[in-house]
């Protein structure tokens, strides 16, 4: 029944609807613009003008970082660390190619810790922003999402927050790593024990059933056997186990001298607590991830004493130009300079003066250093030449040694530092040249009655 009145009404409805759609589209576009580009557009603009005088041009490094969502803390610290090193390099003459100096610029977008966003952002960075080198996103999961995209476009991507070995077993050519992979997490801990106690033999490994912890456990077993340890226990527990008493009773019966293992925070705390309940004795206990968190001591108190953990980096570690090992070249800021730039970037650029410093920041900074060094060595922005140059780099930085395996891109230079809870504080105890204090061994809390 098409009456004129009705036609008019439906016409009006169409107009109203169109208006609503229009408003929605404009609003969405505005939100996208604000969220995507707002951050660096405001803060970087004044410096670009300055740069025109000193530098011959700008080299763009792209990054998809988790500034909101579940990895927001880690992602924001990574960003501040990367920006700190970018600023340090620019203040110290930039990157030199063919006798001309170029300024570094970090172009980044917030991926909200979402895999889909990561893929879209990496494509945008390559196709629209024209970046030639990428920082990987934070975490192994997101890095694994970004890697095939970088590979498809043939752009070099440096992983700084993805410790998984698996990413580097996919045959990617353009993906490399600056942090120690999971399989080597406990290597430095085992080295330390060998040095402290050449007679220690009986090693127990207990780990959470997860991809990360299993890679660590298997790598630990392999390396320990090389060092002459006897593996007296090697078992895993499910992530949601209510009570670990039975498996720990079994571990106790194996009479280990050294116990290494864990997984993440929640199970790590439970593991240590129940080890004490079961009455386990050990000269040394090393646990993944959990002890790095201040809450570890808050929850466990005295039994957290002397627990060691491997760490990618600690602010108190003492890497310096003076203790550069032979065969390596010092490169980049000192730790003091890094911390100074980091605090300034956090406060002035990101507006977060109380951001806090952790290894995530150092990893982000190390990735930028590795890229800058590779570009200088390659004397080019061509991805293939950058990637080739990376194979030859052997540098010593505020983050420690950096060197990659040419074949897979896995990090083989960087070592985990070993930290220990001593008198309610976390102190770096290994490697010796960068340690704050000597390790307490054997543990009075866990070994003596």
């Amino acid at each position: 029944m098409p009456s004129p009145l009705r036609a008019a009404a439906s016409n009006r409805a169409v107009i109203v609807l169109a208006a609503i759609v229009l408003v929605a589209v404009v609003a969405a576009a505005a939100i996208l613009l604000l969220r995507g580009g707002g951050g660096e557009a405001e803060t970087e603009a004044p410096q670009v003008q300055q740069a025109e005088e000193k530098f011959a041009g700008t080299i763009k490094i792209g990054a998809s970082l988790s500034l909101t969502g579940r990895y927001s803390t880690e992602g924001t610290r990574t960003l501040a660390g990367a920006l700190a090193v970018v600023e340090w390099i620019n203040d110290n003459g930039g990157v030199e190619i063919g006798g001309k100096r170029y300024k570094l610029e970090l172009i980044y977008y917030d991926d909200e810790s979402q895999p889909d966003r990561v893929i879209a952002i990496v494509e945008k960075l390559i196709k629209e922003d024209g970046v030639k080198v990428l920082l990987a996103p934070y975490s192994s999961g997101l890095t694994a999402k970004a890697a095939p995209v970088a590979e498809r476009y043939g752009v070099v991507m440096v992983s700084h927050g993805g410790a998984s070995d698996k990413i580097f077993q996919q045959g990617y050519k353009y993906v490399v790593q600056v942090l120690t992979p999971a399989s080597r997490y406990f290597q430095s801990t085992l080295d330390m024990i060998r040095k402290l106690d050449p007679d220690a033999k009986r090693l127990a490994i207990i780990y959470k059933e997860s991809e990360f912890a299993r890679t660590v456990a298997e790598g630990t077993r392999e390396y320990a056997e090389k060092l002459g340890f006897e593996i007296v226990f090697f078992e895993s527990y499910p992530a949601d186990a209510t009570d670990l008493t039975p498996i720990l009773t079994k571990l106790k019966a194996a009479q280990p001298e050294i116990i290494l293992g864990g997984g993440h925070f929640k199970d790590g705390v439970l593991l240590v607590k129940q080890m004490k309940e079961v009455g386990i004795k050990a000269k040394l206990i090393g646990i993944l991830v959990a002890p790095a968190h201040p809450d570890f001591y808050k929850e466990l108190g005295e039994i957290a004493e002397t627990i060691v953990y491997p760490s990618q980096w600690e602010p108190s570690v003492k890497y310096s130009p003076e203790n550069t090992p032979p065969g390596y070249e010092w490169y980049g800021p000192t730790i003091e300079e890094f911390v100074e730039y980091y605090n300034r970037v956090a406060a002035e650029v990101l507006g977060k003066p109380d951001l806090g410093l952790s290894y995530h920041a150092a990893e982000g900074g190390a990735a930028v250093l590795f890229i800058a060094k590779a570009i200088e060595e390659a004397q080019s922005l061509d991805p293939d030449r950058i990637r080739d140059a990376m194979n030859k780099i052997r540098i010593y930085t505020f983050f420690g040694k950096l060197q990659i395996d040419p074949e897979t891109g896995l990090q083989i230079g960087h070592e985990m530092v070993v930290a220990q809870w001593q008198n309610g504080k976390r102190v770096v105890v290994w490697p010796e040249v960068v340690a704050e204090a000597a390790p307490v061994y054997p543990s009075p809390v866990w070994w003596e009655d």
């Binding site: 059933e209 078992e235 895993s236 527990y237 499910p238 949601d240 186990a241 209510t242 009570d243 008493t245 039975p246 498996i247 009773t249 079994k250 106790k252 019966a253 925070f265 929640k266 199970d267 705390v269 439970l270 607590k273 309940e277 079961v278 009455g279 809450d295 929850e299 466990l300 108190g301």
Partner: protein, 300 residues
Amino acid sequence: MVDPALVLSSVVTALLVGCIYGVLTLGLNIVFGVLRIVNVGFGAFVMLGAYITYFLYKDYGVNPLLTIPVSFAIGFALGYAMYYAAFRRLVGAPELSTLLATFAVGVLIQELARIAWSPDIRGFTWDIGVLELAGVRIVYSKVVAALSALAVVAGVYYLFTRTRFGLAVRAVVQDPEGAMVVGINVDRIYAVSMALGIGVTVAGGSILAIYLQQGIEPYMGIPYTLLAFVIAVMAGLGSILGSLYAGILFGFFEAASFLAFSMIKDALGLDILPYVLTRSAAFFLLLLTLLLKPEGLFRR
């Protein structure tokens, strides 16, 4: 040869943890038995109980045991309010509606907890000593938690079997219309039963917190939701003492399969993961139960 200390420790752990499983399952089973509502939001209430114990002990120094009745009271009030706010309309509704409604309530509570208390993982230490028995150490706080669980189950059992309220509940379960005809306020029975079920679940959360003392966070209840379902199906949905028996049986089954898999591993030199396999073994038990005795192992 299996280490005797390992066997003893496994038996003790099975008994202790089984009681905790039992009381948690009971909370789920009361709501299902009387209202025929499957509480998918179960884990959120467990979490709530754990936080109540944590805060009362850590911030006010309240003895963790005394937090159990507090949790029960809070859960009771919450369940009562929930019934009149939402679930009154859902009694007898299609299962999907009640599933969605309880799921929504669970998510809401979890997210509120996350906003209010942050996703930080918390823990406390309530150390009241250890008993040494033939080389096996039994932690007293775990024994206390298991005994509290038994006490709660006994209380609920008494309520349902020896009181006029229990008689009325059973009448409602058998025939709601008949119960109404003889003058039972069916609506009230539903309300109180829901309150009781949620109360027991929150109290169960407190008991769990006393047992573990660690890992208290907004999503901690999720694995226990699944666990309680499995045990409830084994018990027979709606069975009170069955919940306890099935909980303990489940604890023993976990322990036995760990021992068995360990022996197989050592004897044959197989590269298997004994402790991880216990969960799959438990679900195998569930499957067997459903095949052989679908009404539950402990249901008359």
